[in-house]
Amino acid sequence: MATRNRSLLFRKYRDALKSVRIPASSSASSAATKSSGGGPVIEMVSTSLLHPNRSYTPLSTEDPGNSSKGAVTVGLPPAWVDVSEEIAANVQRARTKMAELAKAHAKALMPSFGDGKEDQRIIESLTHEITNLLRKSEKRLQKLSASGPSEDSNVRKNVQRQLATDLQNLSMELRKKQSTYLKRLRQQTEGQDGVDLEMNINGNRPYAENDDLDDMIFSEHQMAKLKQNEALTVEREREIQQVVESVNELAQIMKDLSVLVIDQGTIVDRIDYNIQNVATTVEEGLKQLQKAERTQKQGGMVMCATVLVIMCFVMLVLLILKEIIF
């Protein structure tokens, strides 16, 4: 893919033209003026001949240090940029925490000798943190909306959209991770003993036929095992319930975000459509204003008031007439 860089040539021309513009009388200016030669008077004359329409600005207002380097000051951004930067930082933080969460999930699923409570707590806290971050960011995102069809509001809307897309992707990722973790968790619980004691997941009891026999010979050993498994399943049930709760929270966030995010591949995702729309929203605003003006003028209230006033006058005239005639 061929390209050609014209910046060198451009800068050469720019410097050459600049040296012509700045008169040689200023000794503080850059070295380029030394080469211009001639007396200052001649320089000024030639400058004004070259640029007759430009009003000659006195040198004192020019800052040679600034202009000679071409250093550009990118101006201070408006206040809302701070909000967007804060949200972007939150998103970044959430991403790192998600990586940690993935590791924690993997560790918790590995068979271990301990009771795994420590792992569960880590997972819980991480999940909570991430969900909080996302919720906070989403609330702050609403603050970015602006009213009025100005260029600045377009920029804000676009920043909002991009952050919303990031947030939505993060929440979807989190939900996917959680649901895979959930699934694996359930698989583990099922496969723990030969007997499946989880009624709500799998209604069938695979060893139902053996139950009749087993009922008679319930030994001590089996009772103890049963109790232990019950405790475990209660524990697991609680964990699953918690995960499901956070899933629902995320679902709420996603719903709110989905209005902001652009659907890819649709007409709204086209650059030329968005450019046209900017133009039309300004026109639309004008039309709405005009319509509002008209409706107000034609407004029912105004009509009523006018009618009543006229009626009053008519009655007054009739009254006077009545007095006069009778």
Partner: protein, 568 residues
Amino acid sequence: MVLVSAVRDYVYRMLQDISGMKVLILDSQTVSIVSVVYSQSELLQKEVFLVELIDSISKSKESMSHLKAVYFLRPTSENIQYMRRQLSNPRFGEYHLFFSNMLKDTQIHLLADSDEQEVVQQVQEFYADFVAVDPYHFTLNMPSNHYYILPAVVDPSNLQHFCDRAVDGIGAVFLALKRRPIIRYSRASDIAKRIAHETAKLMYQQESGLFDFRRMEMSPLLLIVDRRDDPVTPLLNQWTYQAMVHELIGIQDNKVDLRSIGKFPKDQQEVVLSSEQDAFFKANMYENFGDIGMNIKRMVDDFQQVAKSNQNIQTIEDMAKFVDNYPEYRKMHGNVSKHVTLVTEMSKIVEERKLMLVSETEQDLACNGGQVAAFEAVTNLLNNESVSDIDRLRLVMLYALRYEKESPVQLMQLFNKLASRSAKYKQGLVQFLLKQAGADKRTGDLYGNRDFLNIARNMARGLKGVENVYTQHQPLLFQTMESIIKGRLRDVDYPYVGDHFQQGRPQEVVIFIVGGTTYEESRSVAQLNASNSGIRFILGGTAVLNSKRFLKDLEEAQGIARGNANVV
């Protein structure tokens, strides 16, 4: 992929190295160039938070110095003037200028002169000067396309603009591909010859340094042909998806505007038909109408399945799964309704204009022989009340192009009948077409009845029978491409420019049709590319035609020619 990925690479490189919040400023041509390859959401990912046109941005006075401005413009004198004004009162923090074609030194000088505050950081030429509508199909979207029809003496300055734009576009394509081609052109066409010579001058003399790429064993071939060599293809009604949508409704920059044909809900008024973004469209764009119907039905059934399962939400798991799949579901829903709407509208139009009937005769006129039967068929259709004016005009034109030499009396009868039936018909348009694109003016063998080999081939095809009456037509381009594949493109018909010469077959061929391409031709190109013949074809033109556009160009040219004749 080639053209689309080249333009995408250019846009990516423009935005990649500039950090921070950016505003992208385009002109009316580069908007099309960028919009077909890059989406708004991708721009947002690159931190471009505002996109404006250069003429509207000069109206506003807000200073937004926290944004960096990236300009991507065509190097026209108008754009340079806008730039000058904006540089003298800069609103943004930094200015990065990218031009889609070669800048003249005077233009750089003018820009440097206005940049008093030294806000310009870079000035580059990124040669994305063409609209890549499909991977192997580009267009230049020229608004006044009709100048190719007129001889040079009529309007030399506009014709010069036309040729310059074509040469610029072709040059940009080869710079994007980093190749320098051997150039051939269509013998009978003056304008093809002119564009070919000017392109050769650009590539081998004026900017020979820029075009001096590493030479592979085989240089690619640039073949410049004239639309008038094959006036039949744009006149025919189409039955494959992409071509049909363009013919009946109209596609512009891969967007379809449905507002002209009826009332639709807000989100269906304008839709995007892009093979890059829509997998269903990519699989079906070259299928014929019957097959599309079946595929759409299958898609709707799949979607209904998904929708039904989404309504069965009973447990928390189902809820979770629903929310997970919601974005996919929404996208699928949008896609399904888009295609269903398009196909429904097209069916309505086909029904109204009785296009099945008309198209059968059109295909016969284009492909098979039998003058007497053809005359009868055309006369019947002309007498049929439900056939619209434009269809009548097309039928007579197709008949005239085929049988202009045989039985002139019957031809006259048809002209008169057409004039009496169609109120809007401009007198003499058919004759104008014949004068421009008649048998004497065409290179190549449009009807396959000049060359003995072609006659034999036609007879063989007639005996074998056709799969589908409505899609039996093959554009002339297909034959040309086959000759190139076999290495048998005749020097007599398509001479080389200057002292270029090529033995054997090129591996890459760019065919540029002066006057415009059609989607039927881009379909032939795509099919040949997919058949692994060892050669990669790229097709381009000054516009993408359908019958309406082609007839409009003819009418405008006829108007100018008449005006000129009156003056003389």
